[in-house]
């Protein structure tokens, strides 16, 4: 092979390498992705194109065939969930099934991505009233004769959500002196997060689920500031999803892999629930504490809970009107 031919062949292989370079495919799709409209303003054609682009990019990136759905809200359906705090044993299976189902970013020891969990289980004290504290009020000793103004059991944190433990790690749950309180997106009917979004990247869908258009979010995190339930998470780095643990059945507004710099949160597993399936957390709960269904159907499980049990909404004073209820037997 003479020099000229050699150079030529290098040129050809180089060009071929360039053309087949996955980076180029990615660059192309990202470019198109970058200039696409907000999802709900797209025509059907544009939606299909956007989805095709995503499916190609995801399949390329993750080395598996990824399907991105666009199922709309079902007619006559308003999703709601009720959680029995009497039953919850704090095992965090909901948290981890949610992570797997919804392609949340996993902890990265190198520090290029943070761990994201949409559900936070708070462990709460059952109260520790002791006889010796009875008379240790304020004022103590001096001035006592005029009456104690603050009892010795003030600051006993039984049932105080803000005093819970988030990082409990006992050998076994439930622990004798604790109960547990899972918190996630409450799918508010009056969502403060939607109101503050400057670009309407997050909004309420017809079935009552508050969704995020990950391609439209600008990452300003106003919603994270406004959410009373600390339900929203941010992709601080490029999300870290193990290839073999990717859920390839996704939804555009649901669990498709996110990108860095955008906000995400629970969406009642749109990719499942809009096809009739229970959300992952409901199925994972080993004690059946989570009930899910159509709030418009009086015979649905969640409506039966509302009919028969004592329910409450967290932070009702904020008038957010969650469609996530807590109840007790």
């Amino acid at each position: 092979m003479d020099r000229r031919e050699f150079m030529k062949s290098i040129g050809i292989t180089g060009a071929a390498a360039l053309l087949s370079n996955p980076d180029e495919l990615e660059a192309k799709t990202t470019w198109a992705e970058h200039f696409q409209k907000a999802f709900r303003l797209m025509t059907d054609d544009e939606k299909d194109q956007a989805i095709k682009r995503l499916e190609e990019r995801y399949s390329e990136e993750h080395g598996r065939e990824v399907k991105v759905g666009k199922e709309p809200a079902m007619d006559g359906v308003l999703f709601g969930q009720a959680l029995n705090i009497q039953k919850c044993i704090g095992c965090r299976r909901c948290v981890h099934s949610c992570v797997k189902e919804n392609n949340q970013s996993r902890h990265d020891p190198q520090g290029n991505a943070t761990e994201i969990e949409w559900i936070r289980v708070v462990k709460m004290e059952k109260g520790n009233f002791s006889a010796e504290d009875r008379d240790h009020g304020h004022p103590f000793k001096k001035g006592e004769e005029y009456g104690i103004s603050e009892g010795g059991h003030a600051h006993n944190n039984v049932g105080v959500v803000l005093e819970g433990e988030h990082y409990y790690e006992p050998k076994k749950v439930p622990e004798k002196d604790s109960f547990y309180f899972p918190i996630q997106c409450h799918q508010c009917e009056n969502p403060p997060c939607v109101k503050v979004c400057p670009v309407k990247a997050t909004y309420r869908e017809a079935d009552g689920v508050v969704v995020i258009d990950y391609n439209w979010c600008i990452g300003c995190r106003m919603c994270m500031g406004a959410c009373p339930y600390w339900a929203r998470r941010f992709n601080w780095g490029e999300p870290n999803i193990p290839k073999d643990d990717l859920n390839t059945d996704t939804h555009y507004l649901g669990n498709r892999p996110r990108m860095k710099g955008v906000v995400e949160k629970c969406h009642f597993c749109l990719q499942r629930t809009r096809k009739g399936r229970y959300p992952a957390c409901v199925e994972a709960c080993p004690v059946g504490a989570r009930k899910f269904g159509n709030l418009l159907d009086p015979e649905s499980e969640v409506r039966k809970v509302l009919e028969r049990k004592r329910v409450f909404r967290l932070k009702a004073d904020l008038n957010t009107f969650p469609k996530f209820f807590y109840y007790m037997d």
């Binding site: 290029n112 803000l162 819970g164 109101k195 400057p198 439209w216 600008i218 860095k260 710099g261």
Partner: protein, 408 residues
């Protein structure tokens, strides 16, 4: 033509100076280099390079943003006495107030750009091609008021300078309405920024109707502090004459505003701590620490000591007239309000999270690079603007009719 000449002359003059001038610009340039590195890191790796997390989603960037919007608003403390009370000593240099506003708005825009996760998608909120969630989202209000304020100040300052340069007469019917609007607008920018925070009902530290007025009061202390610093430095280093009366007026405003700020802080503390509800946790964390976490406590007390001491000293008229002392007091107040508003108010509002988690946030080195860089860029621009403006105001650059006729 004349306008192009003005731009050229202004620019040429503003970049020429002595050794001290270039050393200062080089000093700023060093931080701008760090900024370049920091921004590159953040844009390529994502915001993971900051110290922020899901618990503390807003940190130093927002803290500086809020503080600088206040500084921008405080241009009104120069403009208002100048044009409403027709206070001559200030009116001569009122344009410097407007230049402060321009530089401060540019800095706050830089901080917001650093704060958002996808600056590449900024076009999403441009009306027409994107979605602008107005009037629902207060952030959209903030974008409107800040941009309009920037334009207003730009027009006011450069129209004035241009007329000075070309020795033309100011058209009162054009200029004065803009001045009146900009006075109103200055108050609006900080009010809206306050609304952005204090309408978050889930963050009790911020959910106070006292926040907008306290923001404005503290801004009118920090802003004049900055302007006094600028006045003293300009007086020393350029030929521009800034009268003692102008400085005295600013220190007076600063003293009053600082007094009101302290009073409002005091009211807030009493209101929160007396009933001691769950809603006071952020403030308790800030003042005394909670659950053994005390990172912000020294900052809070430092700002209290600085602001109270400075206020007491400033109440003495002689102290206000001692410009060497005033210089340090102004620097202290500027720092004190920055701590109070940025670190104290913004960061503690994030602790605990709405569901009670206490997390201490430490800014990363990249974050600090970016913050310093944003300040450096702002001060760089401000230096050049003031340099050019001083040239115009002293008459060193002016339109030369002969020169014009020679131009093709």
């Amino acid at each position: 033509m004349k306008k192009i000449m003005f731009a050229r002359d202004f620019l040429m003059y503003s970049v020429k100076g002595g050794v001290k001038f270039y050393v200062w610009l080089l000093f700023l340039g060093f931080f701008i280099m760090l900024w370049g590195f920091g921004n590159f890191q953040q844009l390529t790796k994502g915001m993971i390079v900051t110290g922020l997390n899901d618990q503390t989603t807003w940190g130093l960037y927002v803290a500086n943003f809020v503080f600088l919007v206040g500084v921008a608003a405080s241009a009104v403390t120069v403009v208002f006495p100048s044009y409403i009370y027709n206070y001559k000593p200030l009116k001569d240099v009122a344009v410097i107030g407007e230049l402060v506003a321009i530089a401060a708005i540019i800095m706050s825009t830089l901080f917001i750009t650093n704060h958002i996760g996808r600056p590449d998608r900024a076009w999403h909120f441009s009306p027409g091609i994107g979605i602008f969630n107005w009037p629902d989202a207060i952030l959209t209000w903030d974008m409107i008021v800040l941009n309009v304020y920037l334009v207003l100040n730009f027009i006011c300052a450069f129209y004035f300078l241009y007329k000075k340069y070309s020795r033309g007469k100011i058209n009162k019917w054009f200029y004065m309405p803009l001045i009146y609007i900009s006075i109103f607008w200055a108050v609006s920018i900080h009010t809206v920024t306050a609304f952005m925070l204090n309408t978050m009902a889930t963050r009790p530290m911020w959910f106070h109707s006292i926040v907008p007025i306290k923001f404005i009061a503290s801004a009118f202390a920090a802003g004049p502090a900055f302007i006094i610093l600028a006045f003293i430095i300009i007086r020393k280093n350029t030929k521009l004459i800034i009268s003692d009366a102008a400085i005295n007026k600013m220190s007076e405003i600063m003293t009053y505003a600082l007094g009101i700020t302290l009073f409002l802080s005091f009211s807030e503390i009493v209101t929160e701590l007396y009933p001691g509800t769950e809603h006071s946790y952020s403030l308790k964390y800030l003042m005394f620490g909670m659950h053994g976490l005390t990172q912000l406590v020294p900052w809070f007390w430092a700002s209290v000591i600085i602001n109270v001491t400075a206020f007491i000293v400033l109440l003495i008229p002689a102290a206000r007239k001692n410009y060497a002392l005033l210089f340090y007091l102004s620097a202290l107040i500027f720092a004190g309000i920055w701590i109070e508003k940025g670190i104290g108010f913004i960061l503690s509002g994030m602790v605990p999270t709405p569901i009670g988690e206490f997390v201490e946030y430490t800014p990363s080195i990249i974050e600090i690079f970016n913050c310093l860089g944003n300040w450096a860029i702002g001060l760089f621009i401000f230096t050049l603007l003031v340099k050019g403006a001083a040239g115009v105001l002293t008459g060193e650059i002016k339109h030369d009719a002969l020169n014009v006729s020679n131009q093709p």
